[in-house]
């Protein structure tokens, strides 16, 4: 049953999957609590624009996708700060534009590009050592930025209180936007553009259902994210299913279980109230 782990491509997939899951479920707690679930989707489609541009230019797509996605997220936050438009409206605009640009880039490329599909739906077979190194770098960045958790949590709770206590919230919003963009891009190969936002949203949302503290939510989200990645990859190998989709189904099962726990504890509390 563990013989899959002796295969080099599976080893790479597992390491990449765990790193991506860690990143997405860590940043996911801020995404979920700030009501930015749609941002994951928007950035994923920005990544699609970047990947398509990379394919068109014949360069390593992810190397083009990183600056492209970072630029889009900076633009989203910039417009958000300067207008009264709601976040999802601004994201909606950039999301559509990046997607449109991506489609045009792909159509300009004359040869058939099967590659595009592996980016849309993820392909663990395509994970290279370079991908692993880049992911490891992004994980390192997340760990270095980890002392900012408290600041981010404070501003997530109440932006204005955080400003009054001299938290540089505007800077932090850009920082978080950039880190999220990079995370989304490194997740592309494992998860696929279509499903990335699930990695950001579902583990954190599941954790939110069963915790009373943000710190616990953070740990639990990481635990849910990483375990569903590990088991999902293994399951996808055993059952010959696409990796990203299998992981997302596992995340959804965890979410359902948490929902069950929540319903049950409420029912028990209500029962006690009646007794």
């Amino acid at each position: 049953m563990l013989e899959a782990l002796t295969l080099p491509f599976m080893q790479r997939a597992l390491i990449a999957g765990l790193m991506v899951a860690f990143l997405a479920s860590y940043y996911g707690v801020f995404v979920v609590q700030r009501g930015l679930g749609f941002l994951g989707n928007g950035l994923a489609h920005a990544a699609f624009g970047g990947v398509a541009l990379g394919l068109l230019l014949g360069r390593e797509p992810l190397m083009i996708a990183v600056p492209f996605t970072v630029a889009v997220s900076i633009a989203i936050i910039w417009v958000r700060h300067r207008t009264t438009l709601a976040s999802d409206t601004v994201i909606g605009v950039f999301f559509a534009v990046s997607m449109a640009a991506g489609i045009i880039f792909l159509s300009l490329k004359k040869e058939y590009s099967a590659d595009a599909f592996s980016y849309l739906f993820g392909s663990i077979l395509a994970i290279t050592d370079t991908d692993l190194k880049v992911s490891a770098g992004v994980v390192l960045l997340a760990l270095l930025a980890q002392p900012l958790w408290g600041r981010w949590a404070y501003a997530t709770f109440d932006r204005e209180l955080a400003i009054s206590d001299r938290v540089p919230v505007v800077l932090d919003e850009y920082l978080l936007g950039v880190l999220l963009s990079v995370t989304v891009v490194v997740a592309v190969k494992v998860v696929g553009i279509v499903l990335i936002s699930a990695f950001l949203v579902i583990p954190a949302a599941a954790a939110r259902l069963v915790v009373r503290r943000f710190a616990t939510m953070t740990w639990l989200s990481i635990l849910f994210g990483m375990s569903s990645a590990a088991f999902g990859l293994w399951g996808s190998y055993q059952l010959d299913l696409p990796s990203g989709a299998t992981i997302v189904i596992l995340q959804a099962l965890i979410f359902l279980a948490c929902l069950g726990i929540l319903t049950l504890t409420r029912a028990i509390a209500a029962g006690r109230g009646k007794a």
Binding site: Q33, W149, G150, R151, A153, Y154, T156, F157, D158, E160, L161, I163, S164, D165, R166, V167, R208, V211, R212, R213, F214, A215, T216, M217
Partner: protein, 250 residues
Amino acid sequence: MHAVHTHNLSLFLGESQALADISCCVREGEFVAILGPNGAGKSTFLKVLLGVLEPSSGNVLVFEKKPREVDPAWIGYVPQAKTLDRNFPALATELVVTGLHRTWRRRISAADRTAALSALEMVGASHLADRPLSALSGGELQRIYLARSLARKPRLILLDEPATGIDTVGETDFYRLLARYRNEQNATILMITHNQEVASAHADRVMVLNRRLLGFGTPQETMCDECLQSAYGPAHHPLHLTDLRAGSHA
């Protein structure tokens, strides 16, 4: 020393002018109540003192420094009860601890917990310490915010309609607590309220605001009809239409 000193302070929010030419001085240790109709710029004024909003023109000094240069530990702020984010997973104690550390803490140390509990005790909310925010009533949450602002032992307390939702017994206790804290620490208090009786009973001076500073003096001086009319206009007193226009569209 002046706790607050503003000179010709003006502030535009978008296209509308929220504050116009406000010049005032508040001495250290004073209790000032701020009165004014909805949309008068009262909350905006406190946010300028906090350093959250930058004035468009004029000067503002808090303890003789620019607001952003003041040590935030000196200022305790209770924001206006808005649609508070109850969706954030947190226990009441954790919110109080942000008053001590000015950041969100992963863990609550024993010392922090003791300090938070004593702040909660002051506002009569120690029984709420371990409740999640989502399980608090509006008035209960307001008390937690009060505890949070006092936990850091501020020299200047900025209160934006702090008694909103607090029951009458609680309100009496609250003003008693403020008075005691002020005497012990020589703290300065600026409190926005819509309650004129509260303002005249507890404040040394009353500031009447409606974009402009329409009156600033002892309760006897400012709570005269003329001054209040100029701020609130004919809704209260059918006469003096001209004063209203002068006040709100200045």
